[in-house]
């Protein structure tokens, strides 16, 4: 290549790639490095100076009762949402997959209904939930009272609030997981069921355990990781419905990050929360990558 042409080519590459790379550096990589550095300081927004405090912020997150509460609440929330959301989504997907053979239209309509919460604006829907669960004007407690059952304060009872938020999280994520399971089900080759039938597995349960469940294995793992990734960032419902309360009973990692960082302006401490959140998300996303890779080889 002539040198002039080579320079022209290099300029073309720079023109095409440069802005994207600059944006990635400025908006992702430099901020990540800064947040890691800040997490070892006591920096506050607006302060003129800061002190290096080593691991103090991290130590505080895991020993301070409020910090620990955010960590354990998040783990509990994720631990509730994953099994319930996945089991419900799998049942719905199995049902709709079968229904599609006899009543495709109804199956399609139901699929849209289950998916609707994924597309809907979560903040607005959280306010709808607030009205639904309202202690005096909500229909849920009205029905419970009519049946003579206790009518709890879903969103202000300390022992209950996290479970209520988890239920909303499950409601929101079932449709998404259902779509992933439906794709997994559609990919199972028919001849496997025929072979299983020859071997005597003709009943629904037998077919499920000999063919469907083993073939869904990779999908199931993938769905579990995605559900965990999404559940770990729970924020909208907390910010809308409880602000982490009452008495931090529904505080979560991302909400604590927001509160400490942007309400109390403790940038250093909030950076440490951010880093803990980041490490968890990174592990989950790497697992996701590994599973996608494996699924590709699998087919």
């Amino acid at each position: 290549m002539r040198p002039g042409r080579r320079i022209r080519e290099a300029l073309t590459d720079l023109w095409l790639v440069g802005p994207g790379v600059a944006a990635m550096l400025a908006l992702i990589f430099v901020p990540v490095a800064l947040v890691a550095v800040l997490s070892f300081t006591d920096y506050q927004f607006g302060a003129r100076s800061f002190r290096w405090v080593g691991l103090e912020n991290y130590h505080r997150l895991f020993t301070d009762p409020i910090g620990r509460k955010a960590v354990t609440n998040t783990l509990l929330y994720v631990a509730i949402v994953i099994p319930f959301s996945m089991t419900l989504a799998l049942l719905v997907a199995l049902g709709l997959h079968r229904l599609a053979q006899t009543m495709p239209r109804l199956s399609g309509i139901l699929q849209a209904a289950y998916f609707l919460p994924v597309a809907a604006t979560l903040v607005a829907m959280a306010i709808a939930w607030q009205m639904l669960l309202h202690p005096s004007i909500g229909p849920v407690n009205a029905v419970l009272k009519q049946l003579g059952l206790p009518a709890p304060d879903w969103l202000s009872d300390r022992g209950l609030v996290l479970y209520t938020l988890a239920a909303i999280g499950i409601w929101q994520s079932v449709g998404y997981n259902m779509v992933l399971f439906l794709a997994g089900l559609a990919a199972i080759p028919r001849h496997l069921y025929e072979a299983a039938a020859v071997d005597g597995a003709t009943r629904g349960w037998e077919r499920f355990w000999t063919v469907t469940w083993p073939m869904l294995g990779p999908t199931t793992l993938f769905v579990a990781v995605i559900t965990a990734t999404n559940a770990f960032r729970v924020f909208e419902t907390v910010a809308t419905l409880t602000r982490g309360g009452p008495a931090f009973a529904s505080d979560t990692l991302v909400y604590a990050l927001y509160r400490e960082g942007f309400v109390y302006f403790k940038a250093g401490y909030a950076s440490a929360i951010t880093m803990v959140f980041f490490v968890v998300m990174m592990v989950l996303t790497l697992a996701q990558f590994a599973l996608i890779e494996r699924r590709v080889h699998y087919r």
């Binding site: 992702i28 209904a113 996303t285």
Partner: protein
């Protein structure tokens, strides 16, 4: 024993439960105030109180919130496409030193949720005196590594002959990117647009941090202002506002279900 009818019934019942919040939101949004605040709860309004919707638009600047949502989502999408498409094209179709490194950056970027970058970006915007403006809501999302990943995959499948032919015709690389490759990548662009618009129309985290001025509140932020300022006696208009804010994406979803589901399902790839 026939199980199919039982299964179908259960599926319908489950769907009814999933739709309950939507149903209740619409029902309350059409109820007269005296029917909302009664000890016995009726599922449906006895008469339709459309004035709740009118009041939702007058008690808070709801139209402004919607307009802000459109401006922010459109601004973000345009910026993302301007920044990601040329880069993704070069990654897929050109050999240049550092290509592996740049692609490595894209993959590494997928590991970083936006929340992680919030504090430094907030600091930078504060330093630049850009907080509380559209720039603060739009600029931080300019680099979409998910978009780069998606477009790169699509551009990699473009036949080399096509690009060679365009070069022979004397088209510049910029023209090839925008006049040949990008129009062909429309399916990827649609999927990306749905994904991006859904994410940013619904986002609360960043608008809560970057703005405190109701005049530039996005729809979710705006509806929180409404909820916090009403003292519990404006439930009808509040629910009407919730319906209005939710409606655009829900209607879009119902009109283009397949595209929506595919787009959101691939969106799961991004962190």
């Amino acid at each position: 024993m026939r199980v199919q009818p039982v299964v179908t019934l259960l599926l319908v019942l489950g769907a009814a439960i999933v739709l309950l919040p939507f149903f209740w939101m619409i029902s309350v949004s059409l109820k007269p105030a005296d029917e909302i605040f009664t000890p016995h709860v009726d599922l449906l309004p006895s008469r339709l109180e459309w004035s709740n919707y009118a009041r939702a638009f007058t008690e808070v600047p709801l139209a402004r919130f919607l307009l802000n949502g459109v401006i922010v989502c459109a601004g973000i999408l345009v910026l993302q496409i301007l920044f990601t498409v040329p880069c993704a094209f070069a990654l897929a179709q050109r050999r240049f030193p550092g290509r592996t490194l740049v692609f490595g950056m894209v993959l590494a970027g997928l590991l970083v949720p936006f929340h992680v970058t919030a504090i430094p970006i907030f600091l930078a915007l504060a330093r630049l005196k850009l907080l509380n403006g559209y720039a603060a809501l739009i600029l931080p999302f300019a680099a979409s590594v998910f978009g780069m990943f998606l477009f790169r995959q699509f551009f990699a499948r473009l036949p080399a002959d096509l690009i060679d032919a365009a070069r022979v015709d004397g088209l510049s690389w910029t023209a090839i990117v925008w006049r040949i490759a990008f129009p062909l990548a429309l399916p990827a662009a649609t999927a990306f647009a749905i994904f991006s618009i859904t994410a940013h129309w619904n986002d609360l985290f960043w608008p809560l941090i970057a703005t405190s001025d109701p005049a530039i509140a996005t729809p979710p932020r705006g509806i929180l202002y409404f909820r916090d300022q009403e003292a519990g006696d404006d439930v009808g208009p509040l629910m009407a506002a919730a319906v209005v804010v939710t409606a655009p994406l829900v209607i879009g979803f119902l009109l283009a279900q397949g595209a929506f589901v595919r787009s959101i399902a691939t969106g799961g790839l991004r962190a």
